[in-house]
Symmetry: C2
Subunit: 501 residues, 2 copies
């Protein structure tokens, strides 16, 4: 058995090397690659991806997994070897159940769709991409149908990013959340808008970057095992557990852009840097789901990084770094500015209160497209209708409407968005649990110290990598299934205080 496990691991290490290589190629493409490198880079990424796929879906891997089943069954569920075999089998089945030809055709279609969308969005031309989007919906259905036995056709697609979540259970959670969010958003937006002009002054790039880096260092982000570079769209990427990088985007006329994207991506990176080193090179060495990943980026960005306690410590330092811009701005004004709530059209710019309403619109529309109750041609108008009813706004065009997010134009329709809101819900759930275990955490944050919180997250969540699913992790950490209660409490307390509700 030991030999078989060894052989499986060696095959996994090779696949992992190729996947990590793909990440390096992508990082370079987004950070430093000159324009002339683009054509060849596309081919290089495709080659690495194709070989990784071939090697992972090799029948020999399936045979090893079969041979190891009795060993797996002899072990406790949370034994590392059992988890490795279980998670590898799950990934193997996900990748082998979709016929290679279908996958290849879809990927080619997807690359083409992305190119068309990248042109169609600035030109506000939804019809240019609508035939492709129809095909995407069709491919998404075909891929879902490779996994028969589902309750809802979106379930297998949701499984790709948030394993174990179901359309129905997510719908229920989201409906509950909506009931609390809508009146909260209404009560806040009935008041005068917060003044965030203090953030819109000129802030030199280097000083902005230095300030953000100093904070994430204090969070526990290890620059010996990572680095920060600039990109057009911020992201976190990993080349190994010893090399977890983040990127940011700096706007010299908007202090919040680089600062909060840095805290957000550092949250993702803390998760990956915290995975048990013994899992290196295997499928266990990844965050377990989109939702759990997002819970960490949002926890460090929002629960911590937009809290009053946090700024009680950091604001004097920020003022010292930017005396001309902030010397005369009070902590209270600054705190209200970084927590400004406003109905808006663009998901990625949305505040903590309204953000989830954007996600829910997309989630509902995805399900309707997959079910066939909504056709692609009616999608733009349905989008506007939902923005009108849920957020009281209508985008002037499709560029800031149905064309605003890349997800449907560079991947599947189905499963693309729920992770953002699941992440917000879990961020509060985990944070509340950390505070219960260590009531001293807020006081420490007020001192610019994050070690107790970081250590608790490390031991409760990060170290496990993909050993447990999101649902299992929530159960282990809180002793109960996923619930929105802590998240509602968090929002109501924070924004109730801010807006005297």
């Amino acid at each position: 058995m030991e030999k078989k496990l060894e052989e499986l691991k060696n095959r996994l290490f090779e696949v992992n090397d190729l996947n990590m290589i793909g990440a390096v190629l992508n990082w370079d493409q987004s950070t430093y690659m000159p324009p002339g490198g683009a054509a060849a880079r596309g081919r290089q990424m495709a080659t690495a991806g194709r070989i990784a796929h071939e090697k992972f879906t090799d029948a020999a891997v399936g045979k090893l997994l079969d041979d190891l089943q009795s060993y797996e069954e002899s072990l406790p569920y949370d034994h590392d070897d059992a988890a490795l075999i279980r998670v590898t089998r799950r990934n193997y089945e996900q990748l082998t159940k979709v016929p290679g030809e279908l996958l290849a055709t879809f990927l080619a279609h997807s690359a083409e769709t992305y190119q068309i969308w990248a042109k169609a969005r600035p030109e506000n031309d939804f019809t240019a991409v609508s035939t492709h989007l129809e095909k995407t919906v069709d491919y998404s259905r075909q891929i879902a149908n490779c996994f028969p036995g589902y309750d809802h056709i979106a379930d297998p697609l949701i499984d790709f990013s948030d394993l174990g979540m179901k359309a129905e259970s997510v719908r229920t959670l989201f409906a509950e959340l909506r009931e609390a969010l809508v009146p909260l958003a209404q009560a806040i937006t009935a008041q005068e808008l917060a003044d965030d002009s203090c953030l819109k002054q000129t802030y030199p790039e280097n000083e902005q970057l230095a300030f953000g880096q100093q904070i994430i260092k204090a969070y526990g982000y290890d620059f010996e095992r990572g680095r920060q570079d600039k990109t057009h769209h911020p992201f976190m990427t990993k080349f190994s557990l010893g090399d977890v990088r983040i990127t940011t985007r700096v706007k010299e006329n908007d202090l919040s852009e680089a600062l909060f994207s840095t805290l957000h991506e550092a949250g993702h990176a803390l998760y990956e840097q915290g995975i048990n080193m013994a899992y290196e090179g295997t499928p266990l060495a990844n965050g377990t789901s989109s939702g759990v990943h997002e819970s960490q980026s949002r926890l460090w960005e929002n629960q911590v990084g937009r809290s009053r306690t946090f700024w009680q410590h950091y604001y004097p330092q920020l003022q010292a770094a930017f005396p001309a811009q902030l010397g005369a701005v009070s902590l209270d004004t600054f705190y209200r500015a970084v927590n400004k709530v406003q109905r808006s059209l663009i998901r990625t710019d949305a505040d903590e209160v309204t953000y989830n309403l954007h996600v829910m619109i997309r989630f509902d529309l995805e399900l309707a497209l997959l079910e066939g109750s909504l056709s692609v041609k009616d999608l733009p108008e349905m989008w506007h209708g939902r923005y009108q009813s849920d957020l009281g706004l209508r985008a002037p065009d499709d560029s800031d409407g149905v064309l605003q997010d890349v997800h449907w134009y560079g991947g599947l329709v189905g499963g693309a968005f729920q992770g953002y809101t699941l992440g917000n819900i879990m961020s509060a759930l985990f944070y509340e649990q950390a505070l219960t275990a260590h009531p001293e955490i807020p006081a420490e944050i007020g001192q610019g110290q994050f070690n107790t919180l970081h250590t608790w997250l490390q031991n409760s969540i990060y170290t496990h990598g993909s050993k447990f699913t999101a649902n299992e992790l929530v159960e282990r950490v809180t002793g109960a299934p996923l619930t929105i209660a802590p998240y509602i409490r968090y929002l109501q307390t924070k924004f109730g205080e801010l807006y005297k509700l």
Copy 2:
């Protein structure tokens, strides 16, 4: 036939993708990678290299080459398809004649030796690495013996980097060169040393980099298809013909470091950027030999970048960029400073006149080790003896003696050094030929214009990639075999004028 050629190309593209991926991984390792990434990066590079090797040495490639032989024979020698099949076959034979197991054992040995050397050099401990070096000599002999029929055991190893050059012919060239160089070096070093203190002031990094970049842009280096980053050891690397990058090292207390390494690496890059785009992804899309590659780096660094004409144009700009440092330094003083000739211990710091003496010592010692007339235990003393007799100096220790260069400790003994001097020789040969064709070149250089020279090199050398060997290229360009005469003329004229000989 067309289908077979197509199939061969597709296999070559895949291998090329994997090789280029290896280059990206290596570039990142040398420029931006945090320390924590090192362990996994070594494995990732090994995986990409192993798969590339497996795919290139696949028997199916050999079969395709056999099938294509009659097609190749039906074509003129300089037809692109004929060249592709010929060069691919040559590389295929080089890689398949060495048994996979021998190669793998040697590569593992080599990686280990490098680690030991990296520690032994600063500790001045040759004995720590001498047993490994003995094994390297033995492996080098074994690998050479995979290519029976050679005149000298070093010939197959020389072929790896300078195909078609032979130990005997190189020895003859070097002996001739030595006869001219020794008296020249003696005549110069009998005089007072040039004063280069003007270069050793404080020069801020960003201004240094900007100045170098402005020059190489004028040379014709295309920043849309390349970029410059900082590393410990400067190098040129290529990820595709559209992405050819260079690196440099800046010393704020030595202006010549970044400046001339930038011109040098840009010379390598101009060669690669100039290869016929139709060769992209195939073995033709590479510089043809170490010697020809070095001829281009040295031509742009020395023949152009250390010429008086060049500085007549650029020195006023350099003074304007660094008025406090150079405002009071005359062009003549500066020109003498960047052409200072001095007997020294370290090859990489050597000037144009003495540089080749360093290379010859290494070349002779390599041959002696391979022939068995010199044993590794006697090598350090032999090194000191040769430095004493050839350069009149003795290093205080082995760190600056036999341990100074990485080559023997990270690769084969044999074939590692001759390319540097062959490059110098060819740089003058090609440059003289360009001047014969276009006598206006020096006047243009005096205006900071390089287009005529660049275009001539592009059409005569760069565009061909690996289509012709170095010897073939020299014959095509000059109508005669390689000769040292132009190089001697160049050195005697330039340094004769500088030192009034």
